[in-house]
Amino acid sequence: MDAFILQILNGLDKGSAYALIALGLTLIFGTLGVVNFAHGALFMIGAFCAVTMQRILNLSSTVIDETQKDFLGNPLKVEVPYVESWFGEAAGAAIQDWSVPLSILLVIPVMLLVGWAMERGLIKHFYKRPHADQILVTFGLAIVIGEIIKAFFGANPIQTPMPSAFIGTVDLGAWMGFDPGSVAYPTWRLIYFFFSAIIIAAVFAFLQFTTFGMVVRAGMADRETVGMLGIDIDRRFTLMFGLAAAVAGLAGAMYTPILSPHYNIGMDFLVLSFVVVVVGGMGSLPGAVLAGFLLGILQSFASMNEVKALIPGIDQIIIYLVAIIILLTRPRGLMGRKGVMEE
């Protein structure tokens, strides 16, 4: 039983990352009708915002310490971070410690800006073009973004630790009446799950309860009519793109303590997030979230030793197998609407 609960938690955690990426991807599909192969790259930019925050907080003045030697026997260069010299050692260290949560302050403006620039500078010109062209241009963009990141940060995964307050596990077992320590789950993963839930709820509330959201939803349903009503749908769609980018970026930044970011991380998530979106049904936001959690949980269960003993290697193919089954039994995925991306 405890193993079962642990895997559900793992599934929810995986699923929340999938759901956040798929949510943004669906927003772009649904509103703009664009197949965005650079969406994984947006996730990656978010992750590297966290790395950048860490670097900024670690910006240091260099002092040469004659008493110590480096590996070649030259005097050692000691680096003193500016935050430590400004705020004092203890406060400075505490600020550095919180670099990942603090990076949210960097992620939101950066991602909105990136999203805006991408939409105005590139995507805008591809609304009327075939999907194949959209795929190629966004794929090219994803490669270029990846290479730029690689030029600055290298190809190696970069360790971005969580605040030390969140290191360790929460003993959920004790709460649920199991043996203490039997269901111990990492604190940060729980935080990530709740963080995702809040973001998802916020996006839905925004679309549901604001006039802006109403117009966007109307635009998703019937773009032409909304346009004819004299509503400037384009400007709103630009903002939607920025919002989708911000959601992907937040998902990336907060995921860095779990998955050390590297320049190719976006590509790793790209295919998976497309599968999630399609299984959920094109253009359906609840579908994307549902499919994200469903696939995350199924993948976790398939990784259990008991299941693997029954069907070896099932953990490697489960997602694709489920995708095939769902698409064959439900023509438009779990919650897809007719006529979206079927041509």
């Binding site: 793992n10 590996f71 995964p157 990492p186 779990i258 998955l259 190719n264 953990d315």
Partner: protein
């Protein structure tokens, strides 16, 4: 088809020229006279085939740095590095056999197909006489097979699978790097001494050839000291999130986790295992321990502080105190401002050893080189006295047992380099095995192939 513009006369003329060209006596294989593929002209070209894009790009770049340094030293530029400490004194900084050394580079992308394409291009287009480098066993085995067919020498870079000099060994291929068996053999006694003889080990293994041989080796050596193997679980390569494989470890009754992972997988699995609180756990009254059999500096850098207290093994480390290592670290450090990684050392040493073997053989003919390298003993290249075994072309030398520690310098640039320390230098005798050892059985070295 009516608007053909070229005249009949023109066609005849072109035809005659072509025919004349065909009749020239040069209509024969370029290197037929030399008796082997890509016999060098005034200069000698070697190919450095390393990953420059993809997950192992950093490692590939470090290999490339070391190889460029080796070429400089062979051509008499710089301080000579290990040439001064190498027990053979045939190389004098005038290139190889008096020919200046040039090199070409290629990108393997850590994909066998691409690596072979890149090696083919080096062989067919650039005319290289030797290919060096690489960062994965699959690629090493693929390129080794190619070089065997093409008739040139291959020296593998970072390849740790038993198969490279086991069932996939080839006469034209040599490996300086150590292998899974040696890691197991070196770690065994240290683990016994540190953690005792009564432990339950849980293996997470990357589901591909290297992972399998690594797990087999570790299982054999830990069971030999009395440990029990609780479970062995295969994980997909590049899984990213290992939580669903780590969670079952918590309540499995195991008190030791052995991560047979490398690269990004290792960085993620050790980070996540630490987050699950495994290191702070107590099982059966013992502290829970994590072991990562194969370490590398760049992976240690990626894993940061999570590697503290974790045992692993290495082929070579810059912190060794012998003369050869110090000479190499000095020239590498002065040129690039950082210590060399283990795979950089392997690629550097292999370039020098190849040059020396050619010099001793007096020819670039691969068969001569193979003969010169087989059962060759030398010293002064780090790792103490070293032996290239003729039976399987595996190199035997001391192996390092390492442990993750907090950074000594506190400098960000040194993370990975000084966050691992040498626990013991396991003597060569302890990691030796018979060429027909079951883990290496099968396969056939074949005959050396000089190509054309």
């Amino acid at each position: 088809m009516s608007n053909n513009n070229f005249s009949r006369r023109g066609v005849l003329k072109t035809g005659a020229v072509t025919a004349g060209g065909l009749m020239l006596p040069t209509y024969l294989r370029a290197d037929a006279h030399a008796g082997y593929t890509n016999a060098p002209g005034d200069t000698v070209k070697i190919g450095f085939n390393v990953p420059q894009t993809g997950a192992y790009a950093e490692e590939g770049l470090d290999e490339l740095r070391a190889q460029e340094l080796a070429v400089e030293h062979l051509n008499g530029i710089g301080d000579g590095g290990m040439l001064n400490t190498f027990s053979e004194k045939n190389l004098d900084g005038t290139g190889i056999l008096g020919k200046k050394v040039e090199f070409v580079t290629g990108d393997t992308q850590t994909k066998s197909d691409v690596a072979r394409a890149s090696a083919q291009s080096m062989i067919q287009k650039d005319g290289v006489i030797m290919v060096n480098g690489g960062s994965s066993s699959g690629v090493a085995i693929a390129v080794q097979g190619l070089c065997q067919e093409a008739g040139i020498i291959f020296m593998a870079g970072l390849t740790h699978s038993n198969d490279t000099t086991g069932k996939d060994k080839k006469a034209n291929g040599f490996r300086h790097f150590f292998n899974g068996y040696m890691s197991g053999a070196a770690l065994g006694p240290i683990l016994e001494q540190e953690y005792g003889t009564d432990r339950n080990a849980y293996h997470l293994t990357a589901d591909y050839t290297w992972g399998w041989t690594q797990q087999e080796s570790m299982q054999a050596s830990t069971e030999a000291i009395g440990w029990n193997t609780t479970e062995t679980v295969l994980t997909p390569v590049g899984a990213g999130d290992f939580s669903s494989y780590i969670a079952p470890v918590l309540n499995s009754g195991a008190d030791t986790l052995i991560l047979n992972h490398y690269g990004g997988d290792m960085v993620n699995s050790i980070t996540q295992a630490t987050q699950f609180g495994l290191k702070d756990k107590q099982v059966n009254g013992k502290d829970f321990k994590i072991i990562v059999p194969l370490f590398s500096e760049l992976m240690a850098a990626g894993a940061g502080s999570n590697i503290e207290g974790v045992f692993g093994s290495m082929n070579w480390n810059w912190q060794l105190q012998d003369e050869g290592t110090q000479a190499f670290v000095k020239s590498f450090g002065e040129k690039y401002g950082r210590p060399p990684s283990g795979s950089a050392h392997t690629c550097y040493v292999q370039t020098l050893l190849y040059a020396d073997a050619v010099t001793r053989a007096g020819t670039f003919n691969p068969c001569g080189v193979v003969e010169a390298l087989e059962d060759f003993e030398f010293d002064g290249m780090g790792n103490g006295p070293t032996f290239y075994r003729g039976a399987d072309h595996q190199c035997f030398k001391d192996v390092l047992v390492m442990k993750g520690v907090p950074s000594a310098s506190g400098s960000d640039n040194m993370v990975g380099y000084d966050t691992v320390e040498i626990v013991e230098v396991t003597p060569r005798a302890q990691v030796e095995y018979a060429p027909d050892h079951p883990m290496f059985a099968g396969g056939d070295l074949g005959e050396c192939n000089p190509g054309a």
